[in-house]
Amino acid sequence: MTIGNICRVLGAKYITGEEYADREVHSACGSDMMSDVLAFVKDQAVLLTGLCNQQVIRTAEMMDIVCVVFVRGKQPDECMISMAKERGIALMTTEHRMFSACGILYENGLRGGMSYL
C-alpha cells in the first residue's frame, strides 16, 4: 500500500510529505506509547498515533517509519513539521479515531508488524 493510498482511504490531509505519495508502506502500528513503538521493528511502516509531540517524530526517525498519521484531527506544531521535513517523513491528519483508522487500513490489506515479545 502506498502513502497516497493511506491518505485516500483515511480521508486524511497531508501536513507535509505529499511528494512521498508513491512510497510503499509494508506494515502499520497504532499506538500512543512510543515505548511500544520502539519495541516494534519492521521496515517502511506507517505509525498511527493520537500523541502529538516531538518524540513522535524522533521515534519515527529511529524506526525508519516513513509516514505518521495523526488521528482524531490532531495537528502537529511547526517544530514537528520542520523536523519531519528534514527527515523525509510524511505527516497527515485524519478525523477518524484510532480504532476506525486502524480498521480501515486493515480492511484495505495493511497488516501489523512483528513484535519481539
Binding site: 506509547m33 515505548s35 520502539l38 500523541l51 516531538q54 518524540q55 529511529m62 517544530c79 515479545l117
Partner: protein, 141 residues
C-alpha cells in the same frame, strides 16, 4: 574505515523536547558512513531508549560513542539516582517513570529490555545515589 571514531554528546537535563538529538546525530553519521541499515537502526533504537532514560530519570549525562570497523560502542553515563534492582528494571512492564512522562508516550517499562535486545552486549553498572553507566556494543561484523 580503518580508524576509530569517537563522538561525545551532552544530554541536557530535563529537556524532554531535545531527547533524541544525540541518537539522531549518530544515526545520520552511521548512515553516511555506509553502515548496514539494520545495524544503524539497532544502534539508533538502543541509544535513543538510553537517552530518553537519562532525561527521564537521571537529569541528563554524557554519551560517548566509538565507531570502529568491528563494532559500535555506546557508553551512557549519568549521575542520577542509580538503579536499585537491575534485574527488576529489566522486567517487561516494570517502570518507575512518573505519570507526566507516560502522558508523553514513554515509561511503558520496555526501555532497558529494548536496549538489551538491540545490542550484542550490554553492561549496566549502577550505584544508588551515585549514578549509572550503561555500556552497549553493536557488532558490525
Amino acid at each position: 574505515m580503518n580508524e576509530k571514531l569517537t563522538l561525545s554528546y551532552e544530554v541536557p537535563a530535563d529537556d524532554f523536547t531535545r531527547a533524541g538529538e544525540a541518537s539522531g546525530s549518530v544515526k545520520g553519521m552511521l548512515k553516511k558512513m555506509g553502515v548496514a541499515p539494520d545495524i544503524v537502526r539497532r544502534v539508533a533504537i538502543a541509544m535513543y531508549e538510553g537517552e530518553i532514560n537519562m532525561v527521564i530519570h537521571a537529569h541528563g549525562g554524557t554519551i560517548n560513542v566509538t565507531i570502529s570497523p568491528e563494532e559500535i560502542e555506546m557508553v551512557l553515563k549519568d549521575e542520577g539516582p542509580g538503579i536499585e534492582d537491575i534485574e527488576l528494571a529489566l522486567q517487561p512492564g516494570f517502570s518507575t517513570a512518573p505519570d507526566n512522562i507516560r502522558a508523553l508516550g514513554f515509561g511503558a517499562g520496555m526501555g532497558l529490555l529494548n536496549m538489551k535486545k538491540n545490542s550484542d552486549e550490554m553492561v549496566i553498572d549502577s550505584t544508588v545515589g551515585v549514578g549509572t553507566t550503561v555500556t552497549m556494543k553493536v557488532y558490525i561484523k
